[in-house]
Symmetry: C2
């Protein structure tokens, strides 16, 4: 089954558009993990197990593991997700991008070593830098389009022939790069109008939407502007607001409540 | 000493603009490494030790280690480079780029975990995505501008207000991002004219130039178009042509000869 098919199946079976981001920061872990040599794995596992029923996907962010020399924990975590939560796609958030021969190594890292179902990628180096990911028809490639951070506009909003660069990226991915149907785009929740414009360009391609927190002020605008006709097409990603919903003994329950609340808020707008 | 100062000192002491890229591919290793559990480290160490006298910098490419689960080898390799070849800056080629809070984790990965003197970064997410790297005044940030791969132009050559995007990136880095004087740019050797245009924008900022092989057809054009007035300002990077100059027992000597030949070819044009 392709990434896109798996995602569609999961949207349907979970009735959720929530993507649970797994960004471990040990300083924020509950006290019970103090002194635990395997805290990174154990904390992420507990959060994932508690939130799985509300998740259309999981998204571990690799820098948070790499900074801690915790590649082994990431590998075991993804294996755990596949084993305990089959049918929930795992997106490795790595934002890789390099010349073709090096991109092949990054594809091996994401898909073979970590067994991720999809990986995030940066389009700045152009098509051949994404090709090794695109070639893996059974895996997904989630390409940065309009990101959620304050400096996103520095390059992404520059006008090219009267249209912002991020729209050109959306067009390129939709019309040229997505030949295997395994592409998705990243567009931040902080820009509902831009979500609408991108959706108009890309048809039913999935959009990963970071930037919606527990407060979820914009969840309704995100759904209104960017869902597909069947009310799906979105992975609304939340990390810190779910992971660190409580620093007490109820951390897993609190994470589940936060994920459930976000799912419900989104579903109310669908 | 800052990265830029260290680089200037090394340009002077080595009389070389050659940056030796360390991209291990075990399938290309000499036969003697077959069955060696530590082949990735040992091969890169041998190449580095053999080529150090011709090198103004070393550039390990992280994907080649990550695809092999060889983070430990990379860490030991960089420690070896610092110990045996002090004064030769180490650039971790990782092309990282993410929102600010995640970029902090990538900065920890590159500078604290791996102790790299500089890291390559992707500008697509804008200034705040590079800021955690920029803030480390003692380390360097080598930002992608115009890359050497076939698809580079897909985004980088798009015209923004009558000028290609890569020139806007050069301007932003030179005029806005380089407040600590620790930035450099990547511009491929395959585009001598573009090297000249970028040099005109950025003053004396160092340029990392991939795309020159052992043949070095363009080394002369690179130097003519992009060196600074004192004949430096460039890190001309070569990886495969040095690493795999011979697959026999003379692999280290062959690598040294290739690095020496590239240095001489470049110096003949300075």
């Amino acid at each position: 089954m392709s990434f896109t098919q798996a995602l569609k199946a999961r949207w349907s079976s979970s009735n959720s558009l929530v993507c649970v981001g797994l960004d471990p920061e040990p300083a924020k872990f509950p006290k019970r993990f103090a002194g635990d040599d395997d805290a990174v794995f154990a904390f992420c596992r507990d959060i994932a197990d508690a939130t799985a029923e509300y998740a259309c996907a999981f998204k571990p962010q690799i820098a948070h593991f790499a900074a801690l020399s915790a590649e082994d924990a990431l590998q075991r975590l993804i294996a755990h997700l596949h084993e305990k939560h089959p049918g929930v796609p795992v997106i490795l958030d790595a934002k890789r991008g390099d010349i073709g021969s090096t991109a092949q190594q990054y594809a091996r890292e994401a898909f073979d070593r970590y067994a991720a179902d999809a990986v995030t990628a940066n389009p700045y180096l152009g098509r051949d830098s994404v090709q090794p990911f695109l070639d893996r028809a059974d895996r997904g490639v989630v390409i940065l389009c309009r990101t959620s951070n304050p400096g996103a506009g520095d390059l992404q909003d520059l006008m090219v022939d009267g249209r912002p660069l991020y729209q050109r990226v959306a067009e390129k991915v939709a019309n040229e790069w997505n030949t295997q149907g395994n592409c998705a785009l990243v567009v931040g929740a902080t820009w509902p109008e831009q979500l609408r414009e991108v959706r108009a360009i890309i048809g039913d391609m999935p959009i990963l939407v970071p930037g919606v927190g527990a407060q979820g002020g914009d969840a309704e605008a995100v759904v209104r502007n960017a869902s597909t006709q069947d009310g799906t097409g979105l992975l609304v990603s939340s990390s810190r607001a779910i992971l660190y919903a409580s620093s007490g003994e109820d951390y897993a329950d609190a994470a589940a409540r936060a994920a459930c609340a976000l799912r419900d808020m989104i579903n109310a707008a669908r």
